[in-house]
């Protein structure tokens, strides 16, 4: 375990969370704890169809809460979706938000919480540490084992008018409570399971090699890599195995605790740019970019990559640096293909002519601040080109 190298302060913030099978059923008690009476339930059509939204609303209604459902959330949630949610929140005189879903509904709910508590427009909170007051109380029931938005300080909102994703990064938006129930991940299809799993792996890797990592975040990041590397292929093979689902969910949570506090790196900076520019699925973008960015970063975080090799249970004894790098990136690439994420960026519709603009946006992303190897625009362009 590495010790702190500099005199920099380290901070660790996590919401209160309940982990385990049936955790979601605590929603009534926790809504009471938040002093809520009228609740905006944010979700999306897919989760609603899987039944998780209605189950939550039923529990809340039985507990005497008035629920208003907001389901008009799309993947890569848009600023206007946030503002529509705020209007609904205010019209229904809500006093808390319960979000049931994956990264998109959770980020949208975070946006609604910010504006409900601080006023204004969501896009004006773009950036780092921009939220002055605590937002509306926010309770999360994540249904994907991937984004860990339910424990993180990140919200990514799409500004459709600029074809860009904006990041809001502040501890102010770490949710109040997260009820993490592996059962909810059973309804994910294999491809979504793969993408979200690889997203969680990316979180763990980027947090571990982040130049702001700390012994505490390392603990979580390493544990996350272990769990995901060991279970991601199993979960595709036996999707109904609740034990495997629980391991993946725990891996995702561990990764979330790590990256929310150590932050991320170039993979996320570049994926945000892709998501905003071409509305591509976040998890898949991360998965495609991960081994390329790892190769780029390797020499600036060798010690941390040792931890990764160990956590992935790779036999690397006596390997040269070069061999170690190839072994790790090769394993990451193998895992990705093994779980069915096989497309390249080119196959997703990214053209060589897009690269300049994509890199221009990625270079300004705050996630790049904690990337272990300083990158200039050209570096980013090269990585995009490799992944085409």
């Amino acid at each position: 375990m590495s010790s702190l190298l500099s005199s920099e302060l380290r901070k660790f913030v996590a919401p209160e969370f309940v982990f385990g099978i049936g955790a979601r059923k605590q929603v009534g008690q926790y809504a009471h704890n938040l002093g809520a009476k009228r609740i905006l339930v944010v979700s999306d059509a897919g989760v609603k169809k899987a039944g998780w939204t209605d189950e939550t609303v039923d529990i809340l209604s039985q507990e005497g809460f008035e629920c208003t459902q907001y389901l008009d959330v799309t993947p890569n949630p848009k600023a206007e979706e946030v503002m529509n949610g705020v209007n609904l929140y205010n019209e229904a005189q809500c006093d808390a938000i319960v979000v049931v879903g994956g990264g998109s509904p959770i980020d949208c709910a975070k946006g609604i919480s910010i504006v409900a508590g601080n006023g204004g427009k969501i896009l004006s909170y773009e950036g780092v540490d921009t939220v002055p007051f605590p937002g509306a109380p926010l309770l999360c029931i994540p249904t994907t084992a991937g984004t860990a938005a339910d424990v993180s300080q990140f919200a990514i909102i799409t500004d459709s008018s600029r074809r860009n994703k904006i990041a809001i990064i502040t501890k102010s938006i770490v949710p109040d409570v997260s009820l993490i129930d592996p059962q909810t991940t059973l309804t994910m299809d294999p491809f979504l399971t793969a993408c979200t799993g690889l997203d969680a792996l990316t979180h763990a890797v980027e947090a571990l090699v982040s130049n702001a990592h700390s012994p505490i975040t390392d603990l979580h990041a390493i544990k996350a890599i272990e769990l995901i590397a060991k279970n991601i292929e199993k979960v595709i093979q036996t999707p109904d195995d609740l034990m495997v689902r629980q391991n993946m969910t725990l891996g995702c949570l561990e990764a979330g605790l790590a990256f929310s506090n150590a932050s991320l790196g170039a993979v996320h900076a570049m994926a945000h740019s892709l998501g905003g520019y071409l509305d591509l699925p976040h998890g898949e973008c991360n998965a495609i970019l991960l081994d390329h960015v790892m190769a780029f970063n390797f020499k600036d975080a060798e010690k941390q990559f040792d931890h990764i090799a160990k956590a992935m249970d790779l036999e690397v004894k006596g390997f040269t640096t070069q061999q170690l790098r190839t072994s790790i990136t090769g394993e990451v690439d193998r895992l990705r293909r093994s779980v069915g994420v096989v497309r390249s960026l080119g196959e997703l519709g990214v053209h060589r002519t897009d690269v300049g603009e994509l890199a221009g946006k990625a270079i300004q992303d705050p996630c790049l601040l904690t990337n272990p190897r300083p990158a200039i625009k050209r570096d980013i362009e090269v990585i995009y080109e490799e992944a085409l």
């Binding site: 901070k11 605590p134 990064i169 102010s172 702001a212 932050s263 601040l369």
Partner: protein, 411 residues
């Protein structure tokens, strides 16, 4: 994302990402909560400063939810966790139940109306207080409440009661005094009447025996003695006239008056004719306006005109040619009667004495009289709801004006 051009802003941004930014470091629900609680404390402090009672009452159960210090004092409430909170009706009195129930059942559009009730309470110390209560509806935390504000109006109410009492007392005293006065007036008048009446008999015997002396002892008395008896008899006549006057004055304020339509012109005409008959040698021109009427008591009004026309006749006797006018004029919608003569008149400086009994402006040697006539006239006019006033100029004449309420109404 903004351009990050220098190292410092880059560092700041990185601190922010790590949760070390200013806003994120400051983030605390407790400071927010403390601020809100301080605000609440401040509000409660303000509420407690108010002397008025301010109560929050649950609309369904009517039980007290919260109140300020003013309410605790006014309604003598004691916060006790073991006993259930009192209800609004227990606080302000069960007798207001009906009006509050009616108010609560009002239709939606009337729901903004507040209800004002006056309540009374006797405090433990025995002090009785009056309270003006103002009830309005309010919804807090989705629960319907009544806000009841009580204002102590004891001082105002006590002042009102004291004022009413003193009014009543004053009225009683005035009644009492009026009754006493009426009683003594009556006694006085009865006395005057009986005195004047009883004086007549001895007077008649003096006068009668004087006449017998003159008739039967005519030869036995010298001329001087006869002259003395004549003086005696004249004194008797004078005294008889005086008794008549006092009786008239007494009658003018006594007894019922019977109001009827009177023909003043012919009444005056008759009086003047009588006067002419008594002194046919005098050159007197009278101008009596035809068709003068009034409403009044015929006996009293006749006495009145006899006095006024008699005065005009008497006080103009030294003029070679007498002119007497009787008529009416309209002033400010009021009918004013006037009797005017061209006689000796009077000095306006003495006008106050004119209507007082036994106060004469002339000696008997100038003009005969007893000083009761105008006092009688004034009382009669006032009994008819009118006024009388006079204007005079020495050597030129006098005018007596009077009104009668009945006449004024007619116009």
């Amino acid at each position: 994302m903004k351009r990050r051009s220098n190292k410092k802003s880059q560092q700041e941004l990185r601190d922010g990402v790590l949760g070390l930014g200013q806003k994120s470091m400051r983030k605390s629900y407790y400071s927010q909560l403390r601020r809100r609680m301080d605000e609440l404390e401040q509000y409660r402090g303000l509420l407690n400063q108010a002397r008025d009672a301010i109560c929050l009452v649950d609309m369904d159960s009517l039980s007290l939810v919260d109140c300020n210090d003013g309410a605790k004092k006014m309604f003598q409430l004691h916060s006790d966790k073991d006993t259930p909170p009192p209800t609004l009706l227990e606080i302000i009195g069960e007798n207001h139940e009906k009006i509050i129930t009616e108010w609560l059942s009002q239709s939606d559009e009337a729901k903004n109306d507040s209800l004002e009730i006056e309540a009374e309470r006797t405090l433990a110390g025995g002090e009785h207080i009056f309270i003006l209560l103002s009830l309005s509806r309010a919804v807090f935390a989705d629960i319907k409440h009544i806000v009841c504000v009580g204002h102590d109006i004891t001082a105002r109410r006590n002042a009102e009661i004291a004022l009413q009492n003193s009014h009543a007392e004053l009225e009683n005293r005035v009644k009492e005094r009026t009754r006493e006065l009426a009683h003594s007036n009556k006694e006085l008048e009865a006395f005057a009447y009986s005195v004047s009446h009883d004086l007549r008999a001895p007077l008649r015997s003096i006068e009668g025996f004087g006449q017998i002396l003159l008739d039967d002892y005519h030869g036995k008395m010298d001329d001087e003695g006869k002259q003395y008896i004549k003086y005696m008899q004249e004194g008797c006549l004078e005294m008889n006239a005086l008794i008549d006057g006092i009786l008239a004055l007494s009658r003018s304020t006594r007894g019922e008056i019977h109001i009827e339509e009177l023909d003043l012109s012919s009444l005056a005409q008759n009086i003047v004719q009588t006067l002419h008959n008594t002194e046919p040698e005098r050159k007197v021109t009278t101008a009596i306006m035809p068709g003068l009427t009034c409403k009044g008591d015929s006996r009293l009004i006749k006495t009145c005109l006899e006095n006024l026309l008699g005065n005009a006749w008497k006080y103009s006797s030294k003029k070679p040619h007498t002119q007497i006018d009787f008529g009416t004029k309209e002033e400010d919608g009021e009918t004013i009667y006037y009797i005017q003569d061209n006689g000796d008149g009077f000095d306006m400086n003495s006008v106050e004495r004119l209507f007082q009994p036994f106060k004469r402006l002339h000696t008997n040697s100038q003009f005969e009289g007893n000083g009761i006539g105008l006092a009688t006239v004034k009382r009669i006019i006032e009994r008819h709801g009118g006024r009388i006033w006079a204007k005079g100029e020495v050597g030129i004449g006098a005018t007596f004006n009077f009104t009668l309420l009945a006449a004024a109404k007619k116009s």
